[in-house]
Symmetry: C2
Subunit: 224 residues, 2 copies
DNA sequence: TCAATAGTGTCTGTTAGACATTATGGA
DNA sequence: TCCATAATGTCTAACAGACACTATTGA
């Protein structure tokens, strides 16, 4: 991860790459060949070519071979909290890859459920929490849930993903009604049979233009 | 704005400080005594003491004499877009001050309605757009509208602020009902008479703990 | 056949938006 | 008095949540 090519900068790009594993978010961590027990978020000291996001994309590609399906900057971290590098500040990015993406081989990278994380550098720990919060915050602005799913999926899988991200159970009929009203998915002609029970139809993400008017103002500040 | 004290860093902290002027957001810009026509967002090359947010707070205090009522990081900007400094990256912050805050005197600082901005450095222009978007995005997580109002305000003023931030008209009765349900304000025993019409009661921001359960899932992705 | 899961129709309590009405000041 | 604005009550269409029901597979 240390300086790779070109001239050195005085800041790092760090990436929190998430996927869904069963009923939890999982984050991709990296360890050096030397210190097999010290895990960290993958990071690099960027070269001068390209944008910050380009740099984050390179980190993801180096780890998984494929670009993330969604990538966004979280923010910069510069408190005195420690970082593997000795740079003053670090710019954190958050990325998503679909569930079922082949895991990286070799042992340098591994997925960790966010509930079972190893010890991380303080600044990385802080980044990770912010990154997860960013994903949840972006849910109703970006099709985040879809970016964590493969190209086709059942409505049950989609609902499970929403429940995972929202951290609460949803009502099946209401969820599907809302989904129809939002014109976010379209059915394919494939069905998937899984164990017992009626097969489920597969859908794909296909947003359509919609009535911009939606009902209701919510003044739902959580009183923090 | 250039290097102020302590050791120099290789990045800048830039601040987009907003207030409400009539029916528009306004942003605080700064110009050097030498170049009276080149306006920019106030910025500094931070010293090593304190957090990034501390640095942003210092910028605001230097400009207005008072700390902002709300301050949050937007993100880091590092594209090749130009910046008054020659640093590789800049960390943008967004701050709010109540409408009616005494404007800075002397001519180095001035409020500009976001609809009538002078030419800015490309990176500053980008920061400003992101900062305004951040304010609107945080609306339903933080009491942003209240931070743009003085300590006491009429419900009409509050509704106007929401309309300004949301960019659309709201229904008066519905707005007040939602406000009551959210337990965000409490009445004072003062009334303000303004021109003609019945005087309006003054309220203050006083959030109470609330039922965390709220009705409804919205799958309201705007199909971008 | 039963069990399990997918998908759908109907009912009901809640509520956003519309409208009307009252209240209270200035001109 | 008339007008303008604040504040509030009532009605209605829309909708979230609940429940029940049908559909379709494997065991």
């Amino acid at each position: 991860m240390p300086e790779r090519r070109g001239r050195k900068s005085s800041y790092t790009i760090d990436l929190a790459l998430f996927t869904a594993v069963k009923d939890q978010l999982a984050v991709l961590l990296w360890r050096t060949p030397e210190e097999k027990e010290k895990w960290s978020l993958p990071w690099e000291i960027p070269t001068s070519d390209g944008t910050l996001a380009d740099s984050a994309g390179r980190i993801a590609a180096a780890a998984l071979g494929v670009p993330p399906s969604w990538l966004e900057q979280v923010c910069a971290f510069g408190d005195e909290k420690r970082h593997p590098s000795e740079t003053e500040i670090s710019v954190a990015f958050v990325g998503l890859v679909p569930a079922g993406t082949p895991p990286p081989v070799g042992g340098a990278y591994a997925w960790f459920p966010v509930g079972e994380l190893p010890t991380l550098a303080p600044r990385h720990r802080e980044m990770l929490d912010s990154a997860a919060a960013t994903v949840r915050l972006r849910m109703d602005n970006s099709p985040v849930a879809f970016k964590l799913l493969p190209a086709t999926f059942t409505l049950g899988e989609l609902q499970h993903m929403y429940e995972l991200l929202l951290g609460k159970r949803l009502h099946k009929a209401s969820f599907r009604r809302a989904l129809q009203a939002a014109w976010l998915v379209e059915p394919t002609d494939e069905w998937r049979t899984e164990g017992r029970g009626r097969p489920a139809q597969l859908f794909r993400y296909a947003p359509r233009k919609r009535r911009p008017a939606q009902r209701g103002i919510r003044l739902d500040l959580l009183t923090s």
